[in-house]
C-alpha cells in the first residue's frame, strides 16, 4: 500500500503564546480509516482544520497524493470536511444542500443524477425536499456526509462525526460508516475524544496530548502494547503497578508479591500494565497462591455488566480491576462482595510501560 498518500510533515501551530501543535509528523495510506484521538485541548481539531485549509500551520507541509497543499485555500483542495455541527445550510433543502458543491461544474441533469445516487447510497431518497430543520440528528449527519461524498474527494476529514448522535444510533452509524468507507475506498481522517469510537472505526489511530502525538498504531497494538502510561490509562481500563528488580525477578510493594516477566528490563524500577480481562479470578477454596503473578484479595465492589462482571479487588495498598466473562448462566458463578479470591495471570500479559 502507498504509505505516502497523505504526508503531514513537521507541522507546528501556535495561537499567541499557546503552542497547540508541536512538530507533528504522520503518514497516512490511501483508503485508510485514520483516527486522531485525544482529550480536549490536545490539538487534534486544529490538526484537522489545518488539513482542511481553515488554519495555516506556522511550520511544516501537508502533501496529499504527491501535491503540496499547505498553502491552498479550502476551495482549491481536493478534500472535504464534515463539521461536528454538520454546518448544513438552513436556507436550502436537502437536495440543494447535497448539490451545493457540484452546482457549478455539472448540468442540471447531471446534478440530479448525482444527488439521487448519493441519496440512495445513504438511504435519504425520501428526504430530498425536506428542510434542514425538519431532519433528525441522524438524518442531518447523513446529509452532511452526502454533501461531502458527492464531490468524490480524495480525502474526507470528519470532526467528531458521531458526537451529536445518541448512543444507540451511534453504534449503528459507526458500523455504517466503516462499511461505507471500505466500499468507497476514500481515505478518512477523523477526530474524536471517545476512545471506543476511535477503536471501532480506525484502521490506525494516533493518540494526541498537548500538541504531540504520543503513539500511532493499530487499535489492537495501542490497547495491548501501549508505550506510555498516558495511553495505557486513556484507552480502556488499566491496572498500573510499580515494580522493581529483586534478585532474579521483580517485586511490587503495593501488592506485596513477586512477579515474573518474560523479558529483560533496562531499568531496575518500572511501571507495568495489567489489563483487567487478562486476570483470572478463582475461589480461594480450590487453590493457594503461587510464587509468582498471583495474589489473594477481597472483593470490594462488583458491577454486573451483562457479558462481563467487573470486580474491584483489594490487596494490600492497591485496588485491582478485574473483568470476568460470565460463561455460565448460573448466577452463583458470580463472586459475592467481601469474598476472598485468588487472582493470577500469565507472564505474557504483563506489559512494561516505557515512561
Amino acid at each position: 500500500m502507498d504509505n505516502n498518500f497523505l504526508v503531514i510533515e513537521n507541522i507546528s501551530k501556535s495561537f499567541g503564546d499557546n503552542k497547540v501543535l508541536e512538530n507533528i509528523n504522520l503518514n497516512i495510506s490511501k483508503s485508510e480509516f485514520f483516527g486522531l484521538l485525544g482529550s480536549s485541548g490536545s490539538g487534534k481539531t486544529t490538526l484537522l482544520r489545518i488539513l482542511g485549509g481553515f488554519e495555516k500551520p506556522d511550520t511544516g507541509r501537508v502533501i496529499l497524493d504527491g501535491t503540496d497543499i499547505t498553502n491552498l485555500e479550502p476551495f482549491d483542495r481536493p478534500l472535504n470536511y464534515m463539521f461536528q455541527s454538520y454546518a448544513l445550510f438552513p436556507h436550502l433543502n436537502v437536495f440543494n444542500n447535497l448539490a451545493f458543491g457540484i452546482k457549478e461544474n455539472f448540468t442540471q441533469k447531471e446534478i440530479e443524477i448525482n444527488v439521487r445516487n448519493i441519496a440512495e447510497l445513504l438511504s435519504i431518497e425520501d428526504l430530498l425536499n425536506r428542510r434542514i430543520k425538519q431532519l433528525s440528528g441522524g438524518e442531518q449527519q447523513r446529509v452532511a456526509l452526502g454533501r461531502c461524498l458527492i464531490k468524490k474527494p480524495k480525502l474526507l476529514l470528519l470532526d467528531e462525526p458521531l458526537a451529536a448522535l445518541d448512543k444507540k444510533l451511534r453504534s449503528k452509524t459507526q458500523l455504517e460508516l466503516t462499511t461505507l468507507q471500505k466500499k468507497l475506498k476514500i481515505t478518512f481522517v477523523f477526530v474524536t475524544h471517545d476512545q471506543e469510537e476511535a477503536m471501532s472505526l480506525s484502521d490506525r489511530m494516533a493518540i494526541m496530548k498537548n500538541g504531540l502525538i504520543l503513539e500511532c498504531s493499530s487499535p489492537e497494538e495501542i490497547y495491548e502494547n501501549p508505550k506510555s502510561l498516558y495511553t495505557a490509562n486513556f484507552i480502556g481500563i488499566a491496572n498500573i503497578i510499580e515494580i522493581y528488580k529483586k534478585d532474579e525477578n521483580f517485586y511490587s510493594d503495593d501488592l506485596g508479591i513477586n512477579l515474573k516477566l518474560n523479558k529483560e528490563l533496562k531499568n531496575t524500577k518500572t511501571n507495568i500494565l495489567l489489563r483487567p480481562e487478562k486476570i483470572k479470578i478463582q475461589s480461594i477454596n480450590n487453590l493457594k497462591t503461587s510464587a509468582f503473578n498471583s495474589f489473594s484479595g477481597e472483593i470490594l465492589e462488583k458491577s454486573y455488566l451483562g457479558s462481563f462482571t467487573r470486580y474491584e479487588i483489594k490487596i494490600k495498598n492497591m485496588i485491582i480491576s478485574v473483568l470476568d466473562q460470565n460463561f455460565n448462566s448460573n448466577s452463583n458463578y458470580n463472586f459475592p462482595k467481601g469474598e476472598k479470591v485468588i487472582c493470577s495471570w500469565e507472564s505474557d500479559s504483563i506489559k512494561v510501560l516505557e515512561d
Partner: protein, 295 residues
Amino acid sequence: MKNKLFEKYFVFSPYFWLVLFFFIPLAIIFKISISVSEWGMPPYQDIFLFDNGFKINTTFENYVYIFSDYYYIGSFVNSLILALISTFFCLLIGFPLAFYIATSNIRLRNILLVLVVIPFWSSFLLRVYAWKIILQNNGILNVILLNLGITSEPLQLLYNQYAVIMGIVYTYLPLMILPLYGYLNKFDLNLIEASKDLGLNRIKTFFKVILPLSVPGIVAGSLLVFIPVVGEFIIPEMLGGSDRLYYGKILWEEFFVNRNWPGASALAFSGIIILVLPIVIFQILYSRWSQKNEI
C-alpha cells in the same frame, strides 16, 4: 388579583402608548386635512357645525390640491429617491462593518460597538453642523484640497443633494449597523467554512450563503433607515441647496410659512399612507417568505 391586573396593564401598555401617541394624533391630522381652510386661529373651520342645525363641513379639496400640483408629488418622489440612495449606501458601508464587528474577538467587538454608538452621545444638530464646517468653501476639506493642489479654486461641496446624501448616510449608519450586527452575531461561521470547503470562493460564498442568510438583518436595518429618511427635515435644510426640494421641507413650509394647516395635514397624511401601506404589505409577504424558508 392585583398582580393579574398589573400584568394585563403591562402587556397592553405598548398599545396604550400607540393609541395615545400615534393613532389619536393621526386622527387629529386626518381631521384637519379634511377641514376647510380659513384665516384665523386655528386656520381651519370645524368639521361639525351646529349653528343652523347639524351640518358636516368637510372637503377633500386639500387632497385634490396637493395631488394635482407636481410641486408636492415631486418633493415626495425626491424624498423617496433620497431615502433609497441613502439606504443603499448605508447598507454598502454598514454590512461589511457589521460583519467585521460580529466576527471579531470579544474585546475588539466591544470597542468597535462603542465606537459605532459614540456619535449618539453628542447632539445630532451639532454633528450635522460640523459637516457644514468641513464642507464649506473655506472649510477643512477645501483647504486640504487646495493645499495639495488638487483643485485651484474651492469646490462647491455644500448645499447640494450630494451633501445631503452624505449627511444622511453619516447620521443613519449606526441604525443600519446595529440591527445587522444583532443578526450577524448569531451567524454560524462554520457555514462559511463549509461553503469554501465545498469549492466556492469568497465572492460566491458571500452571494450563496452569507447574503441569503442575512436577509432579515438587512430588512430590519434598511427599514430603520428608509422610513425616517423619507420625512427627514433637518439634514436637507442644513446641508441641502435649492437644487432639490424634499418632502419634509415642503411640509414645514406649508405648516409654518403658508399657514395652510389643512393642506399640510393632507400632505402628511398622504405621505404616511403612501409610505406605510407598501411597507405593511412588504412585511406580510416577507414574514410569509421567511416562514417558508425558515430563516
